[in-house]
Symmetry: C2
Subunit: 442 residues, 2 copies
């Protein structure tokens, strides 16, 4: 992509209406645009990043055998009355009357609708277990939307639902999701800690939230920092292995402030392992047994014909929220560095362009073509801004690798910079090798 | 995928509530499930097909330089008042009041919102042309939703918008889209005829709808059948070439019944070239100049500082509707054949399974693994249904290739069937070659 063709309305200054850095940055570099309170359009670069996150979330769901479907955004109030949540949900639910006067709503979550799909599709215990998910817009009519897409009204969420015959089977589904979440966040380049959590309005008796560290986070975190040394490679999708995974993670103290207890923290965590910081919730998983299957009649027939309510769990990841959360975690000293897995481009070429001399531009285009040939997604800043403005701008855009063609650009060695690191003089061949290696393509 | 694991609730009989064949088939093979009047969930197989269609639509938009973004579903009424369409739109617009009492709506289309994005992002003539699109849910509160996802209320649509400085430039954008549409429908395995159309509530003075032939279509079609001999390979994305493309297509008579004139038809089309059939609209493109940019102040500054309203067009494809439209075009004599480009699977393995003999199942799994190794997307019917039920079921599911392991399945030659064709005895190697060739992978 040539920058002059790209729909990327970069602002000169930080927008005054934004209070947190992700909101500032996303407006500043033209990733989003507010259309009304708490409702945003995703402009091409923001959309591209969100799509990359969505695809990683999807792949990890598929790997544990969850199947993707798509439930609609507009739901009938009927099933919410069946579950008893229609009144409970309060004003956050966007309630709608259609032209026939029927009571509808914009789904804030999908336990009811998915249970209704399940009950009309699955009749026998033989068809269990089932895991279904979708990546769909949700609407929650926040009384005071703020912080850009971090606490907005219309947002994109992955929500999955598991259906099992017994508590024991359901725990296996729960633990599979637990592992999928760890792997997902790992691929997104962020450290997410699973923390035992309250179940809130979803209900149930087992729940974890996944929190990433960010100094600007909404909740305070107290943790044993050794939890970050854990890696997921060794766990398999078996009951035994996943049980061990849970034990390994639960060995380390990690709570948000609502569960914090000073004595426990000091007793359980050695002084030099104590980490007190802030975090942002990016995922939440729940096990709630028959809370919805019972009122909504989500049952299957056993071998003897007897019917039993299925045991359900639900599992959310805030896909659009993750875009902001990654910025909160990674944007430091006015420099953003997207993890390569979700970066809008792999590399940027920033040529210094002299009005009377097109050597740098010709060179830039050659490099561009060569990178493209190697399936590297490259953006070339062909605008007539001066080179220091270009560098400053791309520090905000956050493409992790840059080739800078400055005054002294001569010969075959190129000025190559990985964000936060020293510049190096490398051949194009070596640059291509570095990026393809990082992308796991060679 | 093993069928026993797949969330595919196939019904024994045709559902009585469905009047047209796409609606019947989609319910019958568990592609969709109605959640309320005119609102459907897309179950895994239906979703997968829709996603494949969506990706082809996306790729062809990207090829002509359109950039993808994502506008929200819920819009403020304000901009619709600015354009003057808030009252015009009538009851089909789903109007909503949020908790603060603000007038909102579920977007039925996006001319207003995209113009608002444009006007706050693009200031100079130098940044033109621009083409933006999104693939987003829409809601139209049909008074009588019917025909399944063909005339439903919540649906998925690709809508693109072009912004140009002059009528001449705008015509180039229009023609690029025209070509992208022809290529898109071609890749979807359907013949779409562009027909000059009325502009309706969108407004403007140039418009084409793209109609595919289907005996069950909603509108009658009168055409010169030589239009189907035209192919798109020779056209380039240049003014001249695209002008020729338009002339080539417009040479042949093709109208829907509202524009039909018997005398014209008989005068312009030789008897043996006359085609009278029915069709389904799957795309519609409009050029409307400054109809929206004028009231919404979508202007750019010229070199001399003078401001000029940009010339706009809009371009829709009914992504979810296409799923039904392809069925209407392809489902014949109770046999469905998905074009390979959008088929839920490339090939199905249907083994006859004997309770006391697992030879066929072992063989089937071996074939399955080998196909998977070759990146072929395969479904294995591992259920205990008898072989004729399996064949009947897969005739509805519509996977275009099948390997049948019957009673006499012995040796290395396999019973291979392409839908509608004679069965052949082929080696697995040859079968793999056929499919990879069809997928353009070798």
């Amino acid at each position: 992509m040539y920058l002059s063709n790209y729909f990327l309305p970069v602002l000169k200054d930080n927008p005054s209406e934004a209070q947190i850095k992700s909101h500032q940055l996303m407006l500043r570099v033209g990733m989003i645009k507010q259309s009304s309170a708490g409702i945003y359009s995703w402009l091409p670069m923001g959309f591209k990043i969100m799509k990359k996150i969505e695809n990683i979330v999807r792949q990890e769901q598929d790997k544990i055998g969850a199947q993707e479907l798509l439930m609609p955004t507009i739901q009938s109030a009927e099933i919410w009355k069946e579950s008893g949540r229609y009144n409970d949900y309060g004003e956050e639910m966007l309630r709608i009357k259609d032209r026939q006067g029927r009571e509808m709503l914009y789904g804030p979550t999908n336990e009811e609708l998915v249970t209704e799909i399940f009950r009309s599709s699955i009749k026998s215990y033989k068809s269990l277990p089932q895991m279904l998910y979708h990546i769909q817009l949700k609407f929650r009519d926040e009384v005071r939307p703020r912080f850009g897409i971090m606490r907005c009204r219309e947002f994109l969420m992955k929500d999955a639902y598991s259906f099992d015959l017994s508590d024991e089977d359901a725990l296996l589904s729960y633990n599979k999701m637990f592992l999928a979440y760890l792997k997902t966040f790992n691929r997104l380049g962020i450290s997410a800690i699973p923390m035992a959590a309250d179940t809130g309005p979803i209900g149930g008796n087992l729940s974890h939230e996944f929190v990433i560290l960010a100094e600007t986070g909404e909740s305070k975190i107290y943790a044993d920092k050794r939890i970050f040394d854990l890696t997921t490679e060794k766990y398999l999708l078996t009951k035994e292995s996943l049980k061990n995974m849970r034990l390994d993670y639960e060995k380390y103290y990690a709570v948000t402030d609502d569960k914090y207890n000073e004595k426990d923290f000091e007793k359980n965590v050695e002084k030099n392992n104590r980490l007190i910081t802030k975090g942002i919730e990016v995922g939440h998983i729940f096990y709630f047994g028959d809370k919805y299957s019972k009122p909504l009649k989500g049952s299957v027939a056993l071998q003897d014909g007897k019917k039993v309510d299925v045991k359900m769990g639900s599992y959310g990841i805030g896909v659009s929220r993750l875009v902001g959360a990654i910025i909160e975690a990674k944007f430091k000293d006015n420099i953003m560095k997207w993890p390569l897995s979700v970066s809008p481009f792999d590399i940027a070429i920033l040529p210094m362009i002299n009005k009377n001399d097109n050597t740098n531009m010709i060179k830039a285009k050659k490099i561009y073509d060569e990178l493209k040939k190697n399936n590297i997604d490259v953006i070339l800043d062909d605008t007539d801004e001066n080179i220091s403005s270009k560098i400053k701008k791309f520090n905000l855009i956050g493409v992790p690798y840059q080739v800078i063609l400055g005054k002294k650009s001569e010969g075959d060695l190129l000025e190559f910079q990985e964000t936060y690191k020293e510049t190096k003089n490398l051949s194009l061949k070596d640059i291509i090798k570095i990026i393809l290696t990082e992308k796991n393509l060679i």
